[in-house]
Amino acid sequence: MRFIYTKTFAIFFTCFVALAVLVIMQLKGWLDPVRAVVLNAPRPIIRLVRSVALPVKNFFTTVYELKKIVQENGRLSQEIINLKQDLVGFNQQARENEALRKELGFVKNTTLDLQACAVLSDNPFGSPDGLILNCGSDAGISEGQAVISQGHLTGKIIYSGKKSSNVLLLTSSNFSSDAKVSQSGQNGIVKGSFNSGVILEQIPQASDLTKGSLVVTAGINEKIPKNIIIGEVSDILSSGNDLFKKAALSSPIDFHNLEFVFVVK
């Protein structure tokens, strides 16, 4: 029997013709009422199934979103930590940059043989009046050498290791060095004053010493060259009855926030 005479083909062909008629009816717009019925027929089922499916879907969506939120929270927390770390680095670099700029102005105008050193630590071993530098005898550093910052005397080397050295700050009560008043040339001694300032002593009563006078190194100690600025007189501490004049000096150096210093070789 030929295929087109089979029941299968006959039904298929009938369906095909029916579909063709329906397509024409649809194009004419005659199927709109049928369409409305067909669209409404599964609505109760859809509503019923949706009422069950939607809460389930919402639940899993929330769980899924929660997981994502937790992951994102973790990622952002890590990012904050990284950014904070970066910020610390940038702040450090900014401070170093500022310190270097200040130092650069002095270094350009000096004839001294200077060794730049970074400050590894201040207040070493609990001592509030010392620094540890990252350069030592390998870089030509030896005990007694002057340490300066921004052209001002900051301290002196009290111990020199191979790769590091210890500095006694100008403000230490153990510090003392020869000094002179720049205007009069009168020699005296500078001493630290319990980590709070610098005192100029041993100035004869007869000599002229006024507030604002510049005090520099005298150059008596061979390891500390002369004319390094120590500070300026901020207050006269002695009275007219004292044997010697005594004055408080102020220095622009922030002794507790040093990043870089120079050692005079």
Partner: protein, 177 residues
């Protein structure tokens, strides 16, 4: 009565399809439960009820779709028709392996016919748009996997329908229309 039961089954499956699987899409694909039902009936050798199921299912989808009318009905009819012929020629037994293979062929045929119809309608200026073949291909794998996952439940439903109709047939003395 028989066709009423089929119609009811189609409406229920369509409701589940749109109400449930619309929210459970895999790669923007949802299964076509009506195609699975048609497939299960089309593999029956001496039964032509699949034509009714294919025709009505296609009509329902056509009314729901925004494409040119008839694309789903014709695709359903053609896919079911060819599947039925192949099943008869190859004398396929109904087991899960056969069903899985038939499903793959059926889904591919169906998608191809839908695309071909919409493309022909576009070329004949009956419609201003047609389905993108690449998009169809892109979703084919997900569609196949999803349909395969739901094949067995729909197969069970089709068997249940057949058994129910047989029982009704016996009760009414062999005449269930």
């Amino acid at each position: 009565m028989k066709y009423l039961i089929y119609l009811l089954a189609i409406i229920i499956l369509l409701g589940i399809n749109l109400g449930l699987f619309n929210y459970l899409q895999i790669q923007n694909q949802m299964p076509n439960l009506l195609l699975l039902l048609t497939l299960c009936f089309a593999l029956e050798k001496k039964d032509y009820d699949f034509f009714f199921i294919a025709f009505v299912s296609g009509l329902f989808l056509d009314f729901y779709s925004t494409g040119f009318f008839g694309q789903f009905t014709l695709a359903f009819l053609l896919a079911a028709f060819f599947l039925h012929i192949f099943a008869n020629i190859l004398a396929l037994e109904q087991n899960f392996k056969t069903l899985s293979a038939a499903l793959a062929v059926c889904v591919i045929f169906f998608n191809f016919f839908v695309w071909l119809y919409s493309f022909a309608a576009f070329k004949l200026n009956w419609t201003g748009e047609y389905l993108d073949f690449k998009m169809l291909l892109k979703g084919l794998a997900a569609s196949l996997v999803y349909s395969w996952l739901l094949l067995y439940p729909v197969y069970l439903l089709s068997q249940f329908l057949k058994r129910s109709l047989d029982r009704l047939n016996q009760r009414s003395g062999g005449v269930v229309r």
